[in-house]
């Protein structure tokens, strides 16, 4: 899908949604009004087959939605895969697994080589989950692959599917952290807390995941690049109100979220400046830059699972 077409469908969703009591109610942010290349529909959870393969698929789903419970050894924060890949990895516009599965093996700039899907999954644990990579062939990775493979049943291979990734909204000329902070206080703090640490339910389970601080994704994660965060937030946040923030607000609040300290980049070898040069040389990545007199990365909590 071309950028112009993407923009068109987002715009359309926003207009179509003004119906209910004057509110902007975006349905699935990815409903393609032209119907020309409508988003792929993965099989429903009820269709998981019986038997050994089905059990592996179900385990993959459980790892995806309750990651520390089912793959705790590889997790170092309070997140689940499904916190960023909504509806158990099924939702278009939230980097769905079915669109990812058919796109690998693929070349990645991050490590300058062709990655298999299994290697891609390793990166999710190391960065987004601030944990450590399960070894290739580990049951954790096999189960996740089985789940993604099953979700992608019937999808074409080798194409960039409609609904893949986090569609980046149109970037404003300049980003405004102060404005981002205002949006955050109005529209995000209710669930993620004024301090970004998230909120727990009475039973101690994580209800709303942390956005920064020691229990969130680390400085090597895709979400710490403002472009990805803006795309995710525009399509999916506030929860249930995806598509309602203006492009500009989505960018500003994404920049605000990513202007806070979080666990160190696991590739850090002692110098924030060197790490920035090697891995964060991007104006839309605030690692190693100075915000309010402090250099981000200098005071990061350590990366990886910490002893309790």
């Amino acid at each position: 899908m071309t950028a112009a077409k993407r923009a068109h469908s987002i715009l359309f969703a926003a207009v179509a949604s003004l119906s209910v009591a004057g509110l902007a109610v975006a349905g699935a942010a990815w409903a393609d009004p032209s119907g020309e290349q409508s988003a792929f529909t993965p099989p429903s959870g009820a269709e998981i087959p019986k038997g050994g393969f089905g059990e592996m698929v179900a385990l993959g789903r459980d790892i995806f939605t309750d990651t520390s419970k089912h793959a705790g050894a590889f997790v170092g924060n309070d997140l689940n895969c499904s916190n960023c890949h909504l509806d158990k990895g099924r939702l278009a516009g939230a980097a769905p697994l079915w669109a990812a599965y058919v796109a690998y093996p693929a070349f990645r700039k991050k490590n300058q080589r062709v990655n298999t899907f299994e290697e891609r999954l390793q990166g999710c644990f190391r960065y987004s989950m601030n944990g450590k990579a399960p070894p290739l062939g580990d049951t954790t990775l096999i189960a996740l692959q089985a789940y993604a493979y099953w979700l992608a049943k019937g999808a074409p291979t080798g194409v960039d599917m409609n609904g893949r990734g986090y569609p980046a909204p149109k970037k404003p000329e300049r980003l405004d952290l102060a404005r981002g902070g205002e949006i955050y206080a109005q529209k995000c703090a209710l669930c993620h807390g004024a301090d970004g640490a998230g909120l727990k339910a009475a039973d101690g389970s994580v209800a709303f995941p942390p956005l920064w601080g020691p229990r969130s994704y680390n400085w090597g994660a895709g979400m710490s690049v403002i472009t990805n965060a803006a795309g995710f937030i525009k399509a999916n946040m506030p929860l249930g109100l995806g598509g309602t923030l203006s492009d500009e607000d989505a960018w500003n609040v994404a920049a605000f979220v990513d202007s806070h300290e979080r666990p160190q980049d696991p590739r850090f070898e002692g110098s924030v400046a060197e790490t920035r040069k090697a891995h964060h040389d991007n104006p839309l990545d605030l690692y190693g830059t100075e915000i309010g007199g402090v250099t981000l990365g200098e005071n990061s909590p350590p990366s990886g699972p910490q002893p309790k």
Binding site: V20, L23, G45, L190, A201, D203, A207, L239
Partner: protein, 222 residues
């Protein structure tokens, strides 16, 4: 139990004196709940029960265990018109802000057992409600109710009230009130949008489902 009540009393007076607000102690909350305030607010007990169990059959809501902040927000809404109800609005208007806080603290700490004797519902309806509660309906942009109301409907304090064990009639009435634009003022209009995506059958299913879940067993038995 007596000890914990005494402790609660001291904790409350400590908080009110630290914040420098007029000391409306926990005692005052229980007096309002059981006897009213003598200035137009009748005893809450008459309709919500002394322990906050409500009267589910007629749609008088359970209040036991709800967060103080949520209860105060609703009393404010009844008083200023964001929510309107022939019985509740006059009661709320007759309460001072301090009295609202005191009676809210009383019901937050209250605990009431589940109401027995709910009529049986067919499996298919319950199953449909369970799917909405746990998975949502993302094809129309609807998150799972449990993402905001807690995994078992126990609520996520302070802003997201419990649904488990709530009166079925009341749950339905609230969802319909949002759908018809009669209940407003919900934070970020989150519920206005959620309710707008439900059809009649889904409202009935999810109300039936939550009404039959056990209420959170927390707070103090009275």
């Amino acid at each position: 139990m007596i000890a914990s009540k005494v402790w609660l009393f001291f904790a409350m007076s400590a908080i009110t004196s630290v914040t420098g607000r007029p000391a409306v102690a926990a005692e005052a909350g229980s007096v309002i709940a059981t006897q009213g305030n003598g200035r137009g607010a009748v005893a809450c007990k008459a309709c919500h029960g002394e322990a906050g169990a409500g009267i589910p059959a007629v749609g008088f809501p359970r209040l036991a265990g709800m967060s103080k902040e949520y209860i105060v927000r609703q009393l404010d809404a009844f008083a200023d018109g964001g929510r309107a109800h022939t019985m509740m609005s006059p009661v709320a208007k007759a309460l001072s802000p301090d009295e609202r806080a005191a009676v809210a603290a009383y019901f937050e700490a209250a605990r009431a057992p589940a109401t027995p004797g709910l009529a049986p519902v067919d499996e298919a309806t319950l199953a449909r409600g369970a799917v909405l509660a746990r998975d949502g309906a993302w094809s129309k942009g609807l998150p799972a109710c449990g993402q905001c109301h807690g995994p078992d409907g126990g609520g996520i304090a302070p802003a997201f009230p419990p649904l488990a064990g709530q009166s079925e009639k009341y749950l339905k009435a609230q969802l319909d009130a949002w759908r018809q634009g009669k209940r407003t003022g919900d934070p970020l209009q989150l519920m206005t949008v959620v309710a707008s995506k439900l059809d009649d059958a889904e409202v009935a299913a999810v109300a039936a489902y939550y009404a039959r879940l056990p209420p959170e067993a927390k707070g103090e038995e009275r």
